[in-house]
């Protein structure tokens, strides 16, 4: 369990001060995969670096398994860092060392495994884990980006850490390689019971890998919760913008003109997850209501292990019919929201002025 409370980081250069972290508090459960998402410059990288004190917080506390780490003496800090793996966007491998030595040297330099034979065995085991056994004698320059990140992961895991910090670990990789690295991280999390904290600006990474997510903007945590919750019900406009990156449906909701047609009737956004996903709700609605329903856009998929569905419906009918439909939806705990048909960028502040057109039911 990692407890971050009231963490602040202020940069001072001359008379100018920049607040990189502003009263950040988070609890991260052991064994979970926790994502921190934000736009570039939001402070996510600084936040991640405070967790192994590559960045010293100005004030606040970080407790790992009850132990305060911000006040550790140097020798203890080295030990903490040895027990905390970290992987990087640009891999940060040693170009002058082979793949084997990139993993073996830190074990030697930290004194974690002094015996050369034991070290060799450990490195080979790690290379096998990340699927690079036949590349042991190559230099990083001879590897692809995905292979380099696998070396980075093997190196980070060498000391058998309990925590792995991922700094935009897939941002420099193509989508296919990203998927394979994410699968590897998920596998490591499952098999080794390792806590993973990752930062990214890509919602897709959060969707595919994380259990919990925090959204950071200008050094503040603006939203936090389970991935399904944040993804399906983003409240803050920054979160909505981030979700819309990986979700065409939300992108349409933020800008209905993307549909390319203007329909008579209401534009209604349905969101459901878990068991509800498999219920025949639409057919129930059609059976009880004379209203005309068209599916304009939709997706039924998984958020890591949670099934979910989202539909954008066009509904034409009498007010009573629509109310009846909403009742059925409420019964099944389907979140529904009427989307104002006119085009707007949908910042919540503006949206709240359109209360006649839009009503939101939080399940």
């Amino acid at each position: 369990m990692i407890e971050i409370s009231h963490l602040n980081k202020v940069w001072r250069s001359g008379a100018r001060t920049v607040t990189a972290l502003d009263d950040v508090s988070l609890r991260i459960a052991a064994g979970s995969i926790f994502g921190i998402i934000g736009r570039s410059g939001a402070g996510k990288s600084t936040l991640l670096r405070t967790l192994n004190l590559l960045e010293r917080p100005t004030s606040g506390s970080i407790r790992m398994d009850g132990q305060e780490i911000t006040t550790l003496p140097h020798a203890e800090l080295l030990k903490l860092r040895q027990q905390t793996g970290m992987i990087f966007q640009h891999f940060n491998l040693l170009a002058a060392k082979t793949v084997f030595d990139n993993i073996a040297w830190p074990l030697k330099a930290t004194g974690l495994i002094r015996d050369a034979g034991a070290r060799r065995a450990r490195v080979l085991e790690l290379l096998d884990l990340v699927g690079l056994s036949e590349h042991a004698d190559k230099y990083p320059a001879q590897l692809s980006g995905g292979q380099k990140q696998r070396v980075g992961i093997a190196r980070a895991l060498a000391s058998r850490p309990k925590l792995l910090l991922c700094d935009e670990a897939t941002s420099a990789l193509d989508p296919e390689t990203t998927q394979s690295i994410l699968a590897l991280l998920a596998d490591i999390n499952r098999t080794l019971g390792l806590t993973i904290i990752l930062i990214t600006h890509e919602m897709q990474v959060i969707r595919d890998l994380c259990d919990e997510v925090a959204v950071i903007e200008q050094g503040r945590i603006i939203e936090q919760g389970s991935v399904a919750d944040i993804f399906l019900h983003p409240r803050h406009d920054v979160t909505r913008a981030l979700v819309a990156q990986s979700d065409p449906l939300l992108a349409t909701i933020l800008n209905p003109s993307r549909l390319g047609v203007t329909l008579p009737g209401l534009l209604v956004h349905l969101t459901y997850s878990g068991e509800t996903t498999w219920q025949p709700i639409l057919s129930q609605i059609c059976a009880c209501s004379p209203a005309q329903i068209s599916i304009l856009q939709g997706e039924v998929s998984m958020l890591k292990d949670t099934p979910y569905g989202q539909l954008l419906l066009g509904i034409q009918g009498e007010a009573a019919d629509v109310a009846q439909i909403f009742n059925i939806l409420d019964e099944h705990q389907v979140f529904h929201e009427i989307i104002p048909a006119r085009t707007h960028a949908a910042p919540p502040a503006e949206a709240s002025e359109d209360t006649e057109n839009s009503e939101a039911h939080h399940a």
């Binding site: 080295l78 903490l80 970290m86 002058a96 040297w105």
Partner: protein
């Protein structure tokens, strides 16, 4: 042309060449021994680096810059007492070692500092994130990563030293530069001047060629 070459006193040219080689390689050795740690020190005490010491860095950098901006011919004269104290003489090859080392060390240290600075800062960060002690990071990661750059810096410093030896010749150090000045300039023996310069050019090229080969050998990217 052949006749002119016959007039050149070849044993003296060969002796001069040997002296120049000694005056290059010995100070180069001492320069690396002194300048490498100095360059590393400049790097790690500079801003945002693990041992950032702004005041120490400023003072060291100032001394380095002072020595670098001093014309070598002046430095030669100023360092006569120091050379006598350390090397026992200010004359000959022996007398040239101290001033050449003093002139080349700050130059080389700056080059080393820049080579380290141009390494990806992520390397240092990655090593720190693994809980490795700074001396280990420097010896085990930064220097091996910087090796091609450091070899190139040694080559550049060696070439600079060859040209400095010519000036050292002016105050009695011997070597090809001395021959070029005494015979070529003062006695108008143009052939000797040209021959010494050709030998110097050859030395510089051998140095560059060897340096480049080493750099290539140790570059894995």
């Amino acid at each position: 042309m052949l006749e002119a070459l016959q007039q050149v006193y070849w044993p003296e040219i060969l002796q001069g060449t040997w002296d120049t080689i000694l005056m290059t390689l010995l100070p180069l050795f001492f320069t690396v021994v002194l300048g490498l740690p100095l360059g590393i020190l400049l790097f790690i005490t500079s801003k945002d680096k693990p041992l950032a010491q702004p005041r120490f860095y400023a003072v060291t950098a100032l001394i380095v810059n002072l020595l670098r901006s001093m014309p070598f011919i002046i430095l030669l004269i100023i360092l006569i007492p120091l050379s006598r104290a350390i090397a026992g003489t200010s004359l000959g090859v022996r007398g040239a070692i101290v001033p050449l080392t003093v002139a080349a060390t700050p130059f080389f240290a700056r080059l080393v500092e820049n080579v380290l600075r141009e390494l990806d800062r992520g390397i240092l960060e990655a090593c720190q994130s693994m809980g490795i002690r700074l001396p280990q990071i420097i010896v085990g990661a930064l220097l091996p990563e910087a090796l091609p750059g450091i070899l190139a810096a040694i080559t550049v410093t060696g070439v600079t030293l060859i040209s400095y030896t010519a000036m050292a010749g002016a105050v009695g150090a011997g070597g090809l530069g001395d021959i070029a000045i005494r015979y070529g300039y003062q006695r108008f023996e143009t052939t000797v001047l040209i021959v010494s310069v050709v030998f110097l050019v050859i030395l510089v090229n051998i140095m560059e060629w060897a340096g480049q080969r080493l750099v290539r050998h140790f570059t894995h990217w």
